[in-house]
Assembly symmetry: C2
Homo-oligomer: 302 residues x 2
């Protein structure tokens, strides 16, 4: 097995996770969660979303959150910015990186953001340009790269093509996301091999969901193709909106347990992440969605 | 990724799974579960345990279960036999394969079966011999191959040595088990590489627990070392006795989803396994422990 020596782990729980939890989470709890994750050593925390509170009420307090958190040197704080208004708010909140998004599936693009893939990219063009002009990093989140809840199969050529569009918009990093968690390890190899033919693998991240229990096997497969950036959500925050009661984002604790076991350096402290997962699960009164987290908490309590 | 074309999937839910569930399961439910699993196409179902009902009351009805099930041609029915008395009961019940067991950890052996590893092997010698004389297959279950709840680390040399003892006792198949689910993918490579140096890999199986969420990544790593036999438990039956509330056996549905996705032939029908997992979870009024199972059931209900 040929594996990278270092991995950048991006913690998406405070944004991608909490946005998909049913309950609204108070600003104070969000701030405490982000501070704990920063202290655990993450090089990148997805912290806020500057979208219309009409569409995503869970994230309405993005500016307050960014204002209140303790900024750790060495951590990049990212925020979703769907349009110029969002970008302005993100700039005012002094985020380090903005996230724009698009799907590899036409059906998903139309259902989710009500326009074609090509149109969505044109809408993001001024956002990406203004962000770059302001000196921010830009990340492109490419959803449905392994399957779509509406159209089913997604051609690998679409993934490659949308990745190229993000590249052309100036994205520093492109997230290849299995939004509904249907991909398996061989497909991970196929998709990443295809995308790395046109974009350097060091700029690609793997964003896997554990809906079918495949996330860690997929991460292992991606590591073997040379991918070195992965997204994960503490305590597995964020359910799956396409299968009620099913799991969404892979739990950070499980990913970190794997990476630690493989001897891959992340700079993130597992015990601190487990404690953060326990904090947020308790605060939300929800079951902890991390298997490693639960096992380590049970062991500590024994 | 170099992967095998075919895998033998051993369903251990009715024995290893139910034995570790808190509640007693009626004979009728056990029989229905085994019949459903046989019909789903498993080449091997672990169906009973002929141990003292004083120690394992959950399995006291082994003879009745074996008597009542429908025997599918092509399915091997296995039972645990800790001693000659158990073997006699297994022979009377006409099982196809008996399972003897031993740990790679001295501390676990002493705590669990109250004798050293070497002594445990000597105790099993007459059982294995009598089983072979009666024309049965014999399987050796090697626990704590990746770590021990009592001593922590387990030397690879101990795993190799116990595997050789099982080989010497005449075992047809030897299960390399991560009893507490602590192993990660690199370790899987190390352990299987070491054991296959002394025993042909075609006779080794991987028995993984999902306690730390690592099971599918570990199975992928084992597949890459050429292992072609894996154990799994429908609906993830069987908790982890060493970490309260944590997960034990990897869920069969998740493993099968992986293997199907990799294009690896098993002869087992995923939809039938998902239905069996739903049946037993409902019968026991417990949450379904399979992520793929839950996702597919949610999708079907939508």
């Amino acid at each position: 097995m040929k594996l990278p020596r270092k991995v950048k782990l991006v913690e998406v729980g405070p944004r991608d996770g909490l946005q998909n939890e049913k309950q609204f989470v108070s600003t104070a709890v969000k701030v405490e969660l982000i501070n704990r994750l920063s202290a655990a050593g993450f090089p990148n925390v997805e912290a806020a979303s500057f979208v219309s509170p009409k569409w995503v009420p869970q994230m309405a307090d993005g500016s307050d959150v960014m204002q209140a958190i303790h900024r750790r040197r060495g951590t990049i704080y990212s925020a979703l910015t769907p349009n110029m208004k969002g970008l302005e708010a993100a700039l005012a909140a002094r985020v380090d990186e903005v996230v724009i998004f698009g799907a590899a599936s036409e059906a998903f693009s139309r259902k989710n953001i009500n326009c074609s893939i090509a149109e969505s990219m044109e809408r993001f063009r001024p956002v990406a340009r203004a962000a770059k002009d302001a000196g921010l990093r830009v990340r492109g989140a490419l959803s449905c790269a392994f399957g779509c809840p509406y159209q089913g199969d997604v051609p690998v050529a679409s993934v490659v093509s949308v990745a190229q569009m993000f590249d052309e918009l100036g994205c520093d990093e492109i997230d290849i996301a299995d939004t509904i968690g249907v991909g398996t390890a061989a497909q991970v190899g196929t998709v990443f091999d295809a995308v790395t033919r046109v974009i350097d693998g060091s700029r690609l991240s793997g964003h896997f969901h554990d809906t079918y229990g495949q996330a860690l096997a997929n991460i292992l497969a991606a590591l073997e193709t040379g991918i070195t950036i992965f997204h994960a959500s503490v305590a597995g925050l964020g359910g799956c909106p396409y299968a009620k009661g099913a799991t969404g984002n892979v739990a950070t604790e499980d990913v970190l347990y794997l990476l630690d076991g493989l001897g891959i350096e992340t700079g993130v402290d597992l015990a601190a992440v487990v404690a953060a997962g326990d904090f947020i699960s308790t605060a939300l009164d929800r079951p902890n969605g991390s298997r490693a987290g639960k096992a380590l908490l049970a062991k500590a309590a024994a």
